[in-house]
């Protein structure tokens, strides 16, 4: 036995879960949606997914190498970002544009602000919005079965006609690679909720408040079919379960998460109902990302045994 033993501050045991194991779970949870996307759209989707993951990881590694920082690609967060970017692209999106998007997401949105944990905006959505603004036509033209056509959501907005809910639920429609299949996304979401990786508060309040908003302000009124089409259409499910729940860019407090979810629902509703585009999820999420610091500030929990700060703190409880 050596003379001196290790010393450290308490606690002396640690949970097995690490940042990389969490990221790995997220990747696993995205596999159904990814697999369905590849099945639905063919090999081009597979190529895009692979390119985005590889380029995101490379961008992160190269940037950190050049900046003489610790290389953090092993935490798999760049891989998750790459995968999410790919799932947000149409399957026939030009490869070089996708790589550019990954570069924007990883370097401009994430690394410049300090890397993992420091970005104020979801890198994947930052990349998506960058691509929408830069290459709008490529991002919003979808072909399905060789025919260029509108997504069910666009059709809903333009004509008010509800496409087959069944095919929207299963995902055999036009759209980005990962957003079409509600069932595949839900399988992943249930896995994440079950493992305690994501908090139910954000997606549930998001979806409920959005449904209520659409019910009140949408053209269809309280028509269950219309609301269901809105819920299944576009990036709502993918956004609610996989993007809005991104730890870094969502509030750390429990009440904050509820506020965040409600704001998301309202903003998405505003964008979808009153905006020019049929989509609203990406912009709603990145806007709310920006509000996170202030949401956190007003929702700091009341410490155990203390009076709520609105009633004056540290007063002894009355006997």
């Amino acid at each position: 036995m050596s003379d001196l033993l290790n010393v450290s501050s308490n606690p002396h045991v640690r949970d097995k879960r690490t940042t990389s194991s969490i990221m790995l779970s997220v990747i696993l949870a995205l596999i159904p949606a990814t697999a369905f996307g590849i099945y639905n759209f063919g090999y081009k989707a597979l190529v895009l997914v692979a390119v985005c993951i590889v380029s995101s990881v490379l961008f992160e590694g190269i940037y950190e190498y050049l900046m003489k920082q610790k290389i953090t690609v092993k935490d798999l967060s760049a891989a998750v970002t790459g995968l999410l970017i790919a799932l947000n692209l149409p399957h026939d999106f030009p490869i070089w544009m996708a790589v550019l998007g990954c570069g924007f997401g990883i370097i401009v949105v994430k690394q410049v602000f300090g890397g993992i944990g420091q970005n104020f905006m979801n890198p994947a959505l930052g990349a998506r919005c960058f691509l929408i603004l830069s290459f709008g036509t490529k991002m919003t033209v979808f072909t399905y079965d060789g025919v260029t056509g509108a997504t069910p959501l666009k059709q809903l907005k333009d004509t008010g006609a509800v496409d087959s809910l069944k095919s929207m639920f299963i995902g055999t429609t036009a759209g980005t690679i990962g957003e079409t299949s509600v069932i595949a996304i839900l399988i992943g979401a249930i896995y994440l909720l079950g493992k305690g990786i994501i908090d139910f508060r954000i997606p549930f309040t998001y979806i409920i408040s959005f449904a209520v908003f659409i019910g009140i302000f949408g053209e269809g009124g309280f028509n269950p079919e219309f609301i269901a089409a809105h819920l299944c259409g576009g990036g709502l499910m993918l956004g609610a379960f996989f993007m809005a729940t991104d730890y870094v860019t969502s509030p750390i407090t429990k009440v904050g998460r509820i506020v965040f979810g409600i704001l998301l629902g309202i903003l998405t509703g505003v964008f979808r109902v009153f905006g020019p585009s049929a989509e609203g999820v990406s912009f709603a999420i990145i806007f709310c990302n920006l509000l996170v610091p202030i949401i956190e500030r007003v929702t700091m929990p009341t410490a155990f045994g203390c009076k709520s700060r609105y009633l004056g703190r540290f007063k002894k409880e009355g006997n």
Binding site: P11, T18, I22, F304, E317
Partner: protein
């Protein structure tokens, strides 16, 4: 009856209790030198009343309490006082100690007091408890006689015996309750007799149901004491979590249990109180669990205070594999020690030896804001934010965000997937601020 609990907390992945749970308490008589610190409690250190060369007997007082919040210290062996000098404690502090050359005869001080507990007044009982040098044996070491004399003595409604033993690996309280449940009840009745309105509650986690059943059987239909089952979760045995689970009352860092009409005592403390009042014997031994995957024969020992830790570990068969880390206390709140040459004190509930140091093997990375620390924090603060404030030295923000409400339980560091040392940062900041406040600012 329903199982009681609190919000937050963690379930450590390996509770390790199986190692020593079935091992009965064994008397351990050290052979080597005994080092008895004069400060094993919160408050003023005791003043030595012996000098080098003096002969001492077991139970003889060697340190006199010096102040209201202070406690007497007694010899746990018979022999000769070698010297009085500062020695290193398990906590890392240097404390004045009485070093005794053990003659291995264990000759006891004669007892001259033959009063019966039932004939004594509250004041006399309290005097005996004070004389016996009893302090909180869960680890904090707050002098028990002070705890037992709150200002609102008449209002106290509950005397809660903390049998949660929520720290992984520890089994000393469990063995106490299993082996001598009748003593626990006797001790608790003595305390209850001092508080007219009070009712006794023995709170035990549901991983020790056999202890619950044993105690319930002994109680029959007694109305004055109740056994309550707690959900097994760390830090269920923390004072604030315990009081909340049992009574639904909440206290914060600036309140005492007496403010919500409760007094909480550890199981071993109640045993010491019984021993003091019935047998007129001071606190000179305690139960220590020696365990961990590096220990050859994990065991529960009844150990004289002042025993060298190395000697105790050797009694447990020594190490089967070289330990990387040794902890005095539990794995969640205990203190890591850098060598074995420190004495067992009144608050040492266990000595743990691990072959693997989980903390060294996990490298801290950036916070990913996942909020797990917030979910597990029993004090309902935001450890991730507080630790940043602490690292920046921003005292004002730290206090404003309830940093002082942290109970240093370690749940946030335990759960953190980025392996950040949240508790350490917050704890250091708290101690800085407390020291500043004490400094008369």
């Amino acid at each position: 009856m329903s199982i009681l609990s609190f919000k937050g907390g963690v379930h450590p992945h390996n509770d390790g209790k199986a190692l020593s749970k079935t091992r009965p308490i064994e008397d351990f008589e050290p052979k080597g030198e005994i080092v008895i610190p004069l400060s094993q409690h919160i408050g003023t250190p005791a003043a030595p009343v012996v000098k080098p060369g003096d002969k001492v007997l077991v139970n003889q007082k060697i340190g006199e309490s010096s102040g209201f919040i202070s406690a007497n210290v007694h010899s746990s062996v018979s022999g000769t006082v070698k010297k009085i000098e500062a020695r290193r404690m398990a906590s890392g502090n240097k404390v004045m100690c009485v070093v005794i050359d053990n003659d291995n005869r264990y000759n006891e001080c004669p007892i001259t007091d033959f009063r019966k507990a039932s004939e004594m007044s509250d004041k006399e009982k309290l005097e005996l408890i004070k004389e016996a040098g009893i302090v909180g044996m869960g680890g904090a070491g707050f002098p028990s006689h002070v705890k037992l004399s709150p200002q609102n003595k008449e209002d106290i409604e509950y005397i809660i015996v903390n049998g949660a033993e929520c720290e992984p690996y520890l089994t000393s309280d469990y063995r106490r309750m299993i082996e001598n449940p009748e003593y626990l009840l006797e001790g608790l009745r003595i305390v209850l007799s001092m508080f007219k309105k009070a009712k006794g509650i023995i709170a035990i986690e549901d991983n020790k149901l056999d202890a619950v059943i044993k105690l319930k059987k002994l109680l029959h239909h007694d109305k004055d004491i109740e056994v309550r089952t707690l959900f097994t979760k760390y830090p269920q045995g923390g004072e604030r979590a315990l009081i909340y689970a049992v009574t639904g009352r909440k206290i914060n860092s600036s309140m005492l249990p007496a403010d919500v009409k409760c007094i909480v005592h550890n199981v071993d403390t109640i045993f010491a109180i019984r021993n003091a009042v019935i047998n007129k014997k001071p606190l000179v031994t305690r139960i220590v669990t020696v365990t961990g995957d590096a220990v050859k024969r994990p065991q529960n020992y009844k150990v004289p205070i002042g025993t060298n830790i190395r000697e105790l570990v050797e009694a447990a068969g020594g190490f089967k594999k070289a330990p990387e880390k040794i902890i005095s206390g539990g794995p969640m709140m205990g203190t890591a020690i850098y060598n074995l040459d420190a004495p067992i004190v009144k608050g040492t509930s266990s000595i743990l030896a691990f072959t693997k140091d989980e903390v060294r093997d996990s490298e801290p990375s950036s916070c990913i804001n996942c909020g797990r620390c917030v979910s597990v924090c029993p004090g309902r603060v935001v450890p991730a934010r507080l630790s940043v404030m602490a690292e920046h030295g921003d005292k004002e923000a730290f206090i404003k965000n309830n940093g002082m409400e942290c109970c240093e339980c370690g749940c946030c560091s335990y759960i953190c997937p980025a392996k950040r040392n949240l508790t350490q940062a917050i704890k250091s900041m708290r101690q800085d601020i407390l020291a500043e406040r004490k400094g008369g600012k």
